[in-house]
């Protein structure tokens, strides 16, 4: 065989057969977004010194990014299949509302809850979080079933469920923040210090949201990069007809992928309760576009077949770092949205150029 280095058994086979040029190009383009992230950190660190560059602030950024991270991971799988999921922000809100309602309902009698007493909260809190995840998964599965069985474009179906999930969340909550949620979901669970250690004057604490987000990212990266599930995800996005011809059950796989996106939106909904102790229908309405932007900045192609979890993680951290750094710098944080828009356009432009160069080889 003409494969270079075919004899060395220590390297990854797939990488082994890749020519240097393509590896460099891939490195440059995935490196580009990483360079932006690194440059942002550097600029804020230089301008703001220890106000930005301290362990506590790094932790704040991680907590702030964790929710978007979950949505971005789910949306990455969907976009790699050449679909899109516009509903994740609304599904997040719906899941959070369901989780909050279930907690309130089961934490104690109506009188007790109104008096901020939650005798059954040990049961009600996990039950509520599980209900939120289930609700999110149900929306995701509904998306998948409608897209595959009615043969509808994912853009239209998820635009529809975006409205439906948001409306349903508002109906459930009467359009307001759910009152009388057991505070321990935030104080004892969301802010719980699982692992803590001191770095100089700072205390670094690993909290459940960050731990959950980390586990999700690692599992998702393995699933997309190393398993048959991931291979089918790429294959369907690359050429769905070819995937069908080799016997892959494309519909079933797509339903799973949209279900996964909904499930992760449900988990992100639970994070609202963990972080803020309540579910509000007012925020997160632009989270869908933030997640799609993050995935695309991270190198996921809207045409399908391309994308990595690592890239999406970087893409999700860029807005978090920007927002944090701008606030610390005393600049209006709205600039974050302006900057993300510009980075999105630039990232896709560079990616297109790279891909054209690669195809000419």
């Amino acid at each position: 065989m003409a494969t270079p280095n075919a004899g060395s058994a220590t390297q990854q086979p797939a990488v082994e057969a890749t020519p240097i040029g393509q590896r460099l190009a891939a490195l440059l383009s995935s490196g580009f977004t990483f360079l932006i992230l690194a440059a942002l950190c550097l600029v804020f660190a230089v301008l703001q010194g220890a106000k930005f560059a301290n362990p506590n602030n790094a932790q704040n950024i991680a907590i702030d990014a964790s929710q978007l991270l979950l949505l971005t991971v789910g949306v990455t799988f969907v976009i790699v299949t050449a679909g899109v999921d516009l509903s994740v922000g609304s599904v997040l809100i719906f899941s959070a509302v369901v989780a909050a309602k279930v907690m309130v309902r089961f934490a104690g009698s109506a009188e007790e809850v109104r008096a901020y007493e939650f005798p059954n909260q040990e049961v009600a809190i996990p039950l509520g979080l599980a209900a939120g995840v289930l609700a999110g998964t149900a929306w995701g599965l509904l998306n998948g079933v409608l897209i595959t069985k009615l043969k509808m474009p994912s853009f239209i179906v998820t635009l529809g469920t975006l409205g439906m999930a948001l409306g349903a969340a508002q109906l459930l909550s009467n359009g307001t923040t759910i009152p009388n949620v057991p505070q321990d979901v935030q104080l004892k669970l969301g802010l719980r210090e699982l692992v803590g250690f001191d770095v100089g004057d700072y205390r670094i604490r690993l909290t459940p949201p960050v731990l959950v987000a980390t586990i999700v990212v690692v599992l998702a990266a393995l699933a997309l990069g190393r398993t048959r599930f991931g291979r089918y995800t790429y294959a369907i996005g690359s050429n769905a007809a070819a995937a069908r011809r080799v016997g892959i059950n494309v519909d079933r796989h797509l339903i799973k992928v949209y279900g996964l996106s909904g499930l992760l939106a449900g988990v992100a909904g639970g994070f609202d309760l963990l972080r803020f102790g309540t579910a509000s229908v007012g925020s997160h309405q632009a989270d869908n576009l933030a997640a799609i932007s993050a995935a695309v900045i991270g190198g996921t192609s809207l045409f399908g077949g391309l994308g990595t979890i690592g890239g999406s993680v970087i893409g999700a951290f860029i807005p978090a770092v920007l927002r944090n750094g701008l606030v610390i710098s005393g600049v209006a944080p709205f600039w974050q949205q302006v900057a993300i828009g510009a980075i999105l356009i630039l990232a896709v432009y560079l990616d297109q150029r790279r891909r054209r160069a690669e195809e000419r080889m």
């Binding site: 990854q12 086979p13 797939a14 082994e16 790429y234 294959a235 050429n239 399908g304 195809e359 080889m361």
Partner: protein, 278 residues
């Protein structure tokens, strides 16, 4: 016409196949056989029913009359997966590869090898073993694919086709069907594909070769079956028949004097020009 010589038992056989699309009769009482150790070419003008016959034989389309006999037993093929499970592989005209995946991933698409043990149960792929088996098989077939780990988008059209052909050949344990496999090829690559077909035949696996390109057909086929308007009209021996004979049979214009000119035209320009979606 349906194989009366002392040939080995057909591996795959169409016996009196009829196929209708609504009121339109696409195939009429078609008898066709592929035997071990032969390359049988299936030729015909656009709309003659070549693709319909192939689709029936590979489980893509149901048929209305007659039966498919595989290894001496009648079979019902209700999906392409069932045909593949029997060892019948097809190279499609449009290749059916995933361009963002590499050659190994494409070759193993839908039949991925998983790691042994619990990781495999979780769906983890054994990429090392898939690469190794691909290298071995391609080496055995003397197919050269540069950069097995490269995305297919970075390969030339001919190289992509090479992967598609290699995939079919690698998995076909009984029959290989090639629908216009040389249509996108230059001279050198066409030679490779024709060689590959001979190698497959020599391992005892019959090759069904659908092509518009008469020189390619006459170069490689052991037997030529001509379809016209949904019927088998003639079976030719490429050693004794001429391209003129084949074109006459395809067009049915036996008595026209201009046939020789047309035959030459098709022979010279056959590749690409008259490739259709029959």
């Amino acid at each position: 016409m349906d194989g009366t010589r002392d040939d080995p038992e057909p591996v795959l056989q169409a016996v009196g196949i009829d196929k209708y699309f609504g009121p339109v009769r696409a195939l009429t009482n078609v008898h066709f056989a592929a035997r071990a150790g032969e390359i049988v070419a299936l030729i015909g003008d656009n709309g003659a029913g070549k693709s319909t016959l192939i689709n029936v034989l590979t489980g893509v389309l149901p048929h209305d009359g007659g039966e498919i006999v595989f290894d001496g037993r009648p079979v019902r093929l209700s999906s392409p997966q069932e045909a593949r499970a029997l060892g019948i592989e097809t190279v499609y005209q449009d290749l059916a590869i995933a361009p963002h995946l590499d050659a190994v991933a494409n070759i193993f698409l839908g039949r991925e090898l998983r790691l042994p043990g619990p990781l495999g149960a979780l769906g983890f792929l054994d990429r090392r073993r898939m690469l190794k088996e691909t290298e071995e098989q391609l080496g055995r077939l003397r197919v050269r694919v540069p950069g097995l780990g490269r995305r297919m988008t970075t390969l030339s059209g001919g190289q992509r086709q090479g992967v598609a052909v290699a995939r079919a050949v690698m998995w076909a344990s009984k029959v290989v069907i090639m629908d216009e496999p040389t249509a996108a090829f230059g001279v050198a690559q066409t030679g490779q594909v024709l060689d590959l077909m001979r190698q497959v035949r020599d391992t005892g696996i019959p090759v069904v070769f659908i092509s518009h390109n008469m020189p390619h057909v006459f170069e490689v086929a052991d037997r030529i079956v001509v379809l016209r308007l949904g019927e088998i009209v003639e079976e030719l021996d490429p050693k004794s028949a001429s391209i003129d004979d084949a074109v006459r049979a395809m067009t049915g214009s036996t008595r026209f004097t201009g046939v020789g000119i047309k035959a030459e035209f098709v022979a010279r320009t056959g590749e690409g020009r008259s490739v259709g979606n029959a």
